[in-house]
Amino acid sequence: MTIATDQARVIDGVRAEQWIRIYRRMVTIREFEESVNELYTRALMPGLAHLYIGEEAVAVGICAALRQTDYITSTHRGHGHCLAKGASPDRMFAELLGKEAGYCRGKGGSMHIADPATGNLGANAIVGGSAGIATGAALSSKRLGTGQVTVCFFGEGALGQGVLYEVMNLAALWKLPVIYVCENNLYNEYTHYSETTAGDMLARGAAFGVQAESVDGQDVRAVYAAAQRLVERARKGEGPTFLVCRTYRYHGHHVGDINREYYRSKQEEQEWKTKGDPIKNFAAWMIQQRISDAAALEEMQKEVRAETKAAVEFAIAAPYPKPEEADEDVYA
């Protein structure tokens, strides 16, 4: 079945199953993150975590346009990217709890999930820290002729880091298959991006020869459409692109950032949640397009919730690594 989308965002040939898969991924991320918050509140999770709630359409819209063998790099706010690229929640939770069954055997934690099987080169706790890795992966793909594309996710805060421009310049010079995806959720921690970002965001790609565009990051169809175009472009060898996604994080910078009024208003938060929720809006569209119906979506949500719960339980029950493992994996 082919879906006719509305004027602004024509994507031909998208099958209903694909939209449903996309929806399920978004719900999976939302449920995952709600559980992370709960684990934190119940003091079951060591350390902190940065929730992706509100931004699901970006990771899912982009990754839906990628193959499993394509690469991504992620950030401190990386759970959504990892799940969107195909990570399974049980091993993710296990990692967040520092368990042996986690993706990194407990060594990485929330900010360092990595997984060769899904092309995940790793989340990165250094803002801008994965730009070099992503661009280098694109160099490999080009040199080895594998046709893989790399997506480098980062927040608008990373626009402060010079290394980003160094590698954009290189990617443009060498026409590398890499897409720089900037998630502009308006805040670098507790500071509004307008206080940290002079000039024009899109111009920052263009100035280095990287084709730049922006998209409504709350609209998964728009993100998906843009991603498909840019991924195809990259795969054809036409070089790097820079995509700014306008989005919003519903929660604090991290799970412990509860009192936020000194840097943003409750009203602003409320507006984004009510008007801009990527999951609700997409659900409404799917129902309207008869791709699904309210009951089916609710059913799906229940399923995902049950799966998530099971994944949490798996992680809680899983054993910690043995202390002797601390000095394993330092060298390959």
Binding site: S110, H112, I126, V127, G128, G157, T197, V330
Partner: protein, 331 residues
């Protein structure tokens, strides 16, 4: 002498008070870094400063560690006294060119004509469950570099006194605060005092073994010393307070007295601070030592996230206690 009120302050409060006092005293002192103003840093160390001194003197920057550290160098050369805030010591990696090729060398390369009176405050320390990129203690690198000074307070009292000295120093000073100590309380007198660089502090006197420790490892050493006392071992705990300049004499004299020495550090054990201090002691107290100097640093691994793994990577009261006990021949 007028009586000086002594209060209990946290380490974070002591740091903040030092900054506030120096900013009141000297209009040239200013702060810049990420989320230093309204947010007062993620650790809330700077809360209240922007309210008192305004956003002209407490400046939020973009996430550009190299850039604003470099600006600190230029600002220091031309009349300001910047205190640059690098949120986590792990991000020093991004500032090394500005610190090492610029700040440390400007005075020398210019034949003594330009000066860089800048302070860079940052953190060190593991066991916060923050994993490998937010847990490193990289002070050995800076201590290795001529032209820089490096301070490592271990108590609220020292934090305040050393930071005031750092701000008044005419050279670039790297100031390391253990993020796990921010809530540690200790007595801090009201009013003015500074602590000279290069003067070690004997945190506890003892006869049987010298434990040299830096930053929060001083607290660990003091805990171990209490445990040792219970088994009849008298440990002397020495805190060099600055790794550069280094008070070699105090380290060596103590080791001569006790004839045994342990160096406890949260930086990596290899090619770092433990090697330097152990060498200084091994050389200076060569004819007095009963046994080799024992080095205890962080395990030679990236800091792992998982608590049972992370906990074994750094010295603890228990491991220091055991090392000292073995060294003193107590079974």
């Amino acid at each position: 002498m007028p009586e000086v009120a002594v209060r209990e302050l946290t380490f974070a409060q002591a740091v903040r008070e030092a900054l506030a006092e120096e900013m009141r005293r000297d209009k040239r002192v200013c702060i810049f870094g990420e989320d230093v103003a309204e947010a007062g840093t993620p650790f809330k160390v700077l809360s209240g400063l922007v309210e008192e001194f305004g956003c002209e003197r407490v400046l939020d920057t973009p996430i550009s560690e190299a850039g604003f550290t470099g600006m600190g160098v230029g600002a220091a050369m031309t009349g300001l006294r910047p205190v640059v805030d690098i949120m986590f010591g792990d991000f020093l990696t991004l500032t090394m060119d500005q610190l090492v090729n610029q700040a440390a060398k400007v005075h020398y390369m210019s034949g003594g004509t330009w000066k860089v009176p800048m302070v860079l405050r940052t953190t060190l320390g593991a066991t916060r469950r923050s994993a490998a990129q937010h847990s490193q203690s990289l002070h050995a690198w800076l201590s290795h570099v001529p032209g820089l000074k490096v301070a490592m307070p271990s108590t609220p009292y020292d934090a305040k006194g050393l930071l005031k000295t750092a701000i008044r120093d005419e050279n670039p000073v790297i100031f390391f605060e253990d993020k796990m100590m921010y809530k540690l309380k200790g007595s801090v007198p009201e009013g003015e005092y500074t602590i000279p660089f290069g003067v070690a502090d004997v945190k506890r006197e003892g006869e049987d073994v010298t434990i040299v420790a830096t930053s929060s490892m001083v607290q660990v050493a003091l805990g171990a010393a209490e445990m040792l006392e219970k088994i009849g071992v008298s440990a002397e705990v020495i805190d060099p307070r600055t790794t550069w300049p280094l008070d070699e004499k105090t380290l060596v004299e103590s080791a001569k007295k006790t004839s045994r020495a342990i160096v406890v550090e949260e930086g990596y054990g290899r090619y770092g601070v433990t090697g330097e201090m152990a060498s200084v002691i091994a050389e200076g107290a060569f004819y007095s030592l009963d046994t080799p100097v024992k080095r205890m640093g962080a395990m030679h691994v990236p800091i792992p996230f998982s608590p049972p793994l992370e906990d074994v990577t750094v010295p603890t009261e228990q491991t220091v206690f055991e090392a000292a006990r073995a060294m003193c021949g107590k079974a």
